[in-house]
């Protein structure tokens, strides 16, 4: 219980104080979300000239479409790979940058930079590097005897979008990991060192558990990122192809809604996607959080 609890005399002032926040959340989150739910029960032509209320028809079409399940599986693989890669690399880099080295500030700043790069731009960069025949990395791979061809090989394409999506997120994770590492009291680590624990042991038995709140938070953020915000990277690099190898749920929402002008079907997909992300976050809070040492 907090020792000094601030209380307001009436309800008017607190209401006025939270009103702007509520207004923004309501206007930019709840209202569009409700619109999506409403749209998902309708069938409409592109221009909105004819609207028919179709109950669960859009959902039924969705759940009988094998392509949708394929996109779900692709998304799960994609999200696990992106979150795993970006968290792993960020932790490694943060652990390295946390040491007393000359110019640490410069390294840290440089490592944070990529976060300012827009997803689509990150996509273009990777596209250049990995373009068969022209890209720097692609030519290197070909010389090593790897027939790199993301235009036709689905696995290559998936690796490409995973790398581009993860690369961008490493900086963000790095920032949080570094802050987390610096918050760990040096005395604990020094004590372990005196007791004879080597660097690896110190890391896994002391640093990593103490870092778990940060890791947990980042896991949630990264999974949401991979599910919802990676559409730019995919659009620039692969357009969901070859075949449907890189078609994730959020990219399918875009394809069906914007290119296909099927607003009802697209809205139904958004609603399902929203439910999945809410569900995943809830699961993470329910089960993973129990193992987190705050």
């Amino acid at each position: 219980m907090s020792p000094e609890r601030v209380t307001f005399g009436g309800w008017l002032l607190p209401a006025a104080l939270i009103a702007p926040q509520l207004l923004i959340v309501g206007l930019f989150f709840y209202w569009p979300a409700l619109q999506a739910v409403w749209q998902s029960f309708q069938m409409q032509d592109a221009f909105g000239l004819s609207t028919e209320f179709v109950w669960f028809e859009n959902y039924r079409a969705l759940f009988t479409d094998p392509a949708y399940y394929q996109a779900l599986v692709t998304t799960l693989i994609f999200a696990a790979a992106v979150a795993g890669l970006s968290l792993g690399f960020a932790l490694l880099l943060a652990a390295m940058a946390d040491r007393e080295i000359r110019g640490a500030g410069i390294y840290r700043t440089l490592l944070i930079w990529p976060y300012a790069v827009a997803p689509a731009v990150a996509g273009v960069l990777f596209g250049f590097l990995f373009q068969p025949g022209l890209g720097l990395v692609a030519r290197g791979l070909t010389q090593l005897g790897i027939p790199w061809n993301p235009l036709l090989d689905g696995n290559h394409a998936l690796i490409l979008v995973v790398m581009a999506a993860a690369w961008k997120q490493v900086s963000y994770n790095f920032l949080f990991f570094l802050a987390g590492l610096q918050a760990i009291p040096a005395s604990v680590i020094e004590a372990a060192a005196i007791d004879g624990a080597g660097p690896a042991r110190r890391f896994w038995t002391i640093v990593f558990p103490l870092l778990s709140p940060t890791t947990f938070f980042l896991m949630v953020v990264n999974v949401v990122y991979a599910f919802c915000e990676t559409f730019g990277v995919i659009d620039v690099l692969t357009h969901g192809g070859p075949g449907r190898a890189t078609q994730t749920l959020v990219y399918k929402v875009y394809q069906d809604g914007r290119i296909g002008a099927d607003l009802g079907g697209s809205a139904a997909q958004s609603v399902v996607l929203m439910a999945i992300v809410i569900g995943l976050t809830a699961i993470q809070f329910r089960y993973v959080e129990k193992r987190v040492a705050y």
Binding site: A46, P132, L134, H239, G265
Partner: protein, 440 residues
């Protein structure tokens, strides 16, 4: 300076600006388009010339992103009640616009209402056919039209002893195999817009249907016939050629065109509208040639179909505004203007007179590449299979077809399996479109 003074000065400035505009209100006509670079300049110049030619109307061109983005912007604006007067829509969006009755004003109707002189026969039928009803009523005004041609690196052809581009597909595959074995290990030939060449143009060029109901021109209840023998054989040939890079895939859209100008692919299929890109960037001898055909298919080659875009007039505007739009279209149809537009942009002339004029001026002697698409398009009078396409949701349909072609090229499916699947999935999409559009 006190704030009130500032306000006064601003107000005074506004007053001056208002006084400077003529007393008679000029009717503004919004024109949304998707043209970039030199073509954007051409659009702006057309608007300026029109605005200078009379004082009642002012055409205001606005760039709204690529074709897809422009269409989406227009749809969103229509839903919000702020649609532009004129919207440039790519050819594959035709069915979407057509079925939006009430959202658009058909051009033939517009010209009639405005009392503007308008003779549909003045336009090249191979172009207007794509944008007209089966009874010949023109729904949208063709603006920039192109077709698919084969861009060839003539220097590369010389290395294998060829002085001109292969005319048939078997010859092309043979030539590409030699090129690949020679100086072009990565790519014998390639294509941009993979479905446009290998399904849409291929079907029209060989006079085989892509879909029933005259490729959808006769009704929304068309079904796909893309898995016919000609298409299956061709995709199987491509998949076979992909194995040793005699053919090398360059993606679904046109981002792979740089492989031609960079000298990586000696033969590249692309839009005739790429003329400017080739002229500006190719550091080797080049030419445009007609698409090849399979000599064992009777009647081939037939005629090609167009790509590019047309101008749609949006519905719900004032009669006076429509009058202005009609006048603008008459202005655009002027022979000298069309000929000039054709000669500067590389897009096709839309009127017969502009074509004849360019020919009489000897334009094609100097620029043979620009006559190739016209010759392809007018090779024979169009049939049911070669007039054009009108399939709902075609932009997304192309992605779906490309997915299946990719599976065939990667060796995951046979050509037959891939095209059967493409037809099944595509038909489901057509039925969905029919349902959405059929509520009226």
């Amino acid at each position: 300076m006190a704030p009130t003074t500032t306000i006064r000065i601003v107000l005074a400035g506004l007053g001056l600006a208002a006084a400077a505009t003529p007393a008679l209100a000029v009717t503004e006509l919004q024109w949304w388009h998707a043209m970039t670079g030199a073509n954007n300049d051409a659009v702006n110049r057309l608007a300026e010339e029109f605005n200078a030619s009379q004082s009642d109307y002012k055409v205001v061109p606005t760039y709204k992103g690529n074709y897809g983005e422009t269409l989406n912007a227009g749809i969103a604006a229509f839903r919000a009640g702020t649609a532009p007067h004129i919207m440039q829509v790519f050819e594959v969006g035709t069915a979407t616009m057509m079925s939006a009755k009430g959202a658009v004003k058909p051009v033939y109707q517009l010209m009639k209402d405005a009392g503007e002189p308008f003779d549909p026969k003045a336009y090249l039928p191979a172009i207007t056919g794509y944008y007209s009803t089966t009874s010949g009523d023109m729904l949208s005004f063709p603006f920039n039209s192109s077709s698919m041609v084969m861009w060839v690196n003539t220097d590369a052809l010389k290395t294998i002893g060829l002085t001109e581009a292969p005319k048939t597909w078997p010859d092309l595959f043979a030539a590409a195999k030699k090129l690949r074995a020679g100086g072009f290990p990565n790519c014998g030939f390639s294509t941009t817009w993979v479905t446009w060449l290998n399904l849409e143009q291929l079907s029209a060029w060989h006079n085989v249907p892509l879909a029933t109901k005259a490729n959808g021109m006769d009704g929304l209840d068309a079904t796909l016939e893309i898995n016919g023998p000609v298409q299956v054989k061709h995709i199987a040939n491509l998949a076979e050629a992909q194995k040793d890079k005699t053919f090398d895939y360059s993606g679904r859209y046109d981002s792979g065109f740089g492989r031609f100008t960079a000298g990586e692919c000696p033969i590249m299929f692309g839009s005739s509208g790429s003329y400017g890109t080739v002229r500006g960037n190719a550091k080797f001898g080049w030419a445009a040639a007609p698409m090849p055909y399979y000599p064992d298919v009777p009647g081939a080659p037939q005629n090609s179909i167009i790509g590019g875009a047309s101008l749609w007039v949006m519905g719900g505007k004032k009669p006076d505004e429509y009058k202005g739009v009609a006048k603008f279209f008459t202005f655009l149809s002027d022979t000298d203007r069309q000929a000039k537009l054709h000669q500067t942009t590389g897009y096709m002339p839309i009127t017969r007179a502009a074509y004849e004029k360019s020919k009489a001026e000897g334009f094609y002697d100097k620029n043979p590449a620009l006559e190739v698409p016209i010759k392809e398009l007018t090779n024979k009078p169009p049939t049911e299979n070669s007039r054009g396409l009108r399939l709902g949701n075609l932009p997304q349909m192309r992605d779906l077809w490309a997915e299946e072609i990719e599976a065939a090229l990667a060796g995951k499916k046979t050509a037959k399996q891939a095209l059967d699947e493409a037809a099944t999935r595509g038909n489901a999409m057509l039925r969905q479109f029919e349902k959405q559009a059929g509520g009226r």
